[in-house]
Symmetry: C2
Subunit: 414 residues, 2 copies
């Protein structure tokens, strides 16, 4: 609760803040609070009655939040939001009893998204992704991670990453790009897996670095995707180039990709249904965040629940994300995801909110600037017309925020 | 595909129609279609190339739907949308491990909603319900059923039904009110159940009839609510007064309330997880619609799935609804409900859409005017920017429509 000497740009009064900063009270809540903003950063936050002077003397603009709750802007730290087409008809075919093999044989599955994404122009991909990102913003989001991975060729992976770069220029939120060329082995390389990995390590990643198109590299480590050894090869190349690392691991089986990620000090290991205690110990030691994705668990009707109790015991930070993608998680609201985590996995609403704020920030390496309402952090926050923060995890259909602020300025989302 | 002789008020061209009328093709779909509207009714629908004249000669206004899909306006045939307060903190307490008994002992559970609803003014209840109804409209809804049932006293049940009447006057959609005074036995009558039933039958229902505040009467028939005999008593009184009948039955156990409902020719029996084949045979014979509510199934983490295959075999019409309520289904999007039905219960997206259109209309006795796109029915429909109707059941977080029309006029929903 520092006081900056010159006036603030804005002061918001008459609000309740779920700061997510102080863990001694639920949600780090401060009721009857005020928050001062200067140069896009939080300059002051605390009980309104403790403001050092009359509001109008403290800031150029004083805004009455009318008793709404304030949270840090929500953070979706794992999405595949740039893709062509949709897979609703494939969803219908499965429900009509068609087998996955038959759908694959007719060109369905992930490869249909790859085909549609390759065929789409950069402009088409940008327009659909813009609409998706704006919807997510309506649900309180101010930080968005987007992975490539439906291109699976030099040119199409670069196209997706360039779309993400354009989104960053067009939207007033923080967008982090991750290169997931190692999503699956593309069909044209199915007999030459090594050649695809060389393409990623020797051609794609250097070019991504040169054009500054992504800050992180991700690998899907699973029987149907890349082996542990292949993942390590990609990690070595990515780390040598200075990328942050992430992994999709232990979703369908236990390959210990999360332990590998921990040894390479990856930011996060994601999915983790089949995570073991030894993986957890390694993740804790390396400060690797566990990103859990209940949307895919729900949509695929999985039965294996990630080891939440062990993660809690070992105090590994647990983030939640939408995993928004056309095949296994067509879900674009963090409130919906919070509800799934509570109902299906028995998260508390507070854990769920921490999962899409403070811990999601850490999963993106943004904990110094995002994820909680603290002096010095970015003034990125969402206002909500709710009676209690638990309401954010209460509505399965999602929850729209009433206002959204990034860098201290109101932004539009519809 | 009749042709009316004088010009239509409006003609919509360049659309694809999921008419839900013709069952010989999926969704009764007509691609490259047009729809003409006259005096609030559908005057013509068919392939655009079969229009009897040039569009501008057929209608005063011609509107280009730009390739969007058209469906009947969605129908939510089972909601408890008028309530005071919320129960998010109770949701959190359960997730923190508190027992249901302890929550009940501290005044939680349904009685906390009853208390908050009794304490709220008519205006407060109207404003929160208006916001909820408008959100539902953004998701394509044009017909809404709302039950009373959080009042449980003469005066508060009437207050809720008067709120619904005001909503009907304020919103350009069709709203059906149902009196569910027999939701649970209120605490002040716990030792005098018979007196509460007499209050309903002899005082409340006659007054509801006199003020024309509801068209149907509903009873929650379950061990924790009303017995089969009590339900029958209420049915007899309601039927004598000319109300349509509905029942909450077989949600937690098999009491055969649905068979009772069928014998009284109820419009629908709702929930039905524990429905038996003999119940189904009776429902089929009386044309009673099965209204399934996957939201409460999801939220309560139930394991018993309604007997979908038997309902299909016996060709009982199956509707889906949100059951929107603060305790067991805080879900206000029919798209979210369609997705739950598909993922959790293996509905096809087409069955799900029929469940919130044609069959939901029948569950409200509105099948002559609503639920499908056919000549003579009300011109109530939703436009969707989607590639295939299956997309309506594909996004768990819901799906906003692009435009909404009731009685042939565009209506605003935000």
């Amino acid at each position: 609760m520092n006081i900056s000497l010159s006036p603030w740009n804005k002061l918001f009064i008459n609000l309740h803040a779920a700061t997510m900063a102080d863990t001694s009270v639920p949600y780090g809540a401060v009721r009857d609070a005020a928050i001062g903003v200067k140069n896009g950063k939080i300059a002051w936050i605390g009980k309104q009655k403790n403001l050092p002077d009359a509001p109008e003397k403290l800031a150029k603009e004083v805004m009455d939040a009318k008793g709404h709750w304030l949270t840090p802007g929500l953070i979706d730290c794992h999405t595949h939001m740039v893709f062509g087409g949709q897979r609703a008809d494939e969803f219908a075919r499965k429900l009509q009893g068609e087998s996955y093999e038959s759908i694959l044989a007719s060109g369905g599955g992930i490869l249909s998204s790859v085909r549609a994404t390759r065929e789409a122009s950069l402009e088409e991909l940008r327009e659909t992704a813009l609409e998706r990102a704006r919807y997510a913003m309506s649900q309180g989001l101010t930080v968005l991670e987007i992975k490539s991975g439906y291109g699976l060729s030099l040119e199409s992976e670069l196209k997706i990453l360039r779309v993400i770069k354009e989104l960053r220029e067009l939207l007033p939120i923080t967008i982090k790009a991750t290169c997931l060329a190692a999503h699956v082995v593309p069909p044209e390389f199915c007999d030459r897996r090594g050649a695809y990995i060389s393409l990623i390590c020797e051609e794609l990643l250097p070019q991504v670095k040169q054009e500054n198109l992504a800050s992180a590299v991700d690998v899907f480590c699973e029987k149907i995707a890349f082996t542990l050894e292949e993942a390590e090869q990609i990690f070595q190349a990515a780390q040598a180039l200075g990328f942050d690392l992430k992994i999709h691991a232990e979703q369908l089986s236990s390959l210990h990709g999360s332990s590998l990620a921990a040894r390479y000090h990856a930011l996060s290991a994601d999915h983790l249904e089949y995570l073991t205690e030894s993986d957890i110990i390694e993740m804790k030691a390396s400060n690797t965040v566990a990103v859990l994705l209940p949307g895919a668990f729900y949509f695929l009707r999985e039965k294996q629940i990630p080891p939440l109790e062990l993660l809690r015991q070992h105090q590994v930070p647990i983030a939640l994300a939408t995993d928004f993608n056309p095949g296994t998680s067509p879900i674009n609201s963090l409130s919906t995801i919070m509800n799934l985590a509570c109902v299906l996995w028995r998260f508390t609403p507070e854990e769920a909110l921490r999962g899409v704020t403070l811990h999601a920030a850490q999963a993106l390496g943004l904990q110094a600037t995002h994820g909680s309402l603290e002096v010095g952090k970015n003034a990125d926050f969402a206002f909500w017309n709710i009676e209690t923060p638990a309401e954010l995890a209460y509505y399965l259909h999602g929850r729209a925020c009433s206002k959204l602020v990034t860098h201290g300025e109101f932004i539009k989302f519809n």
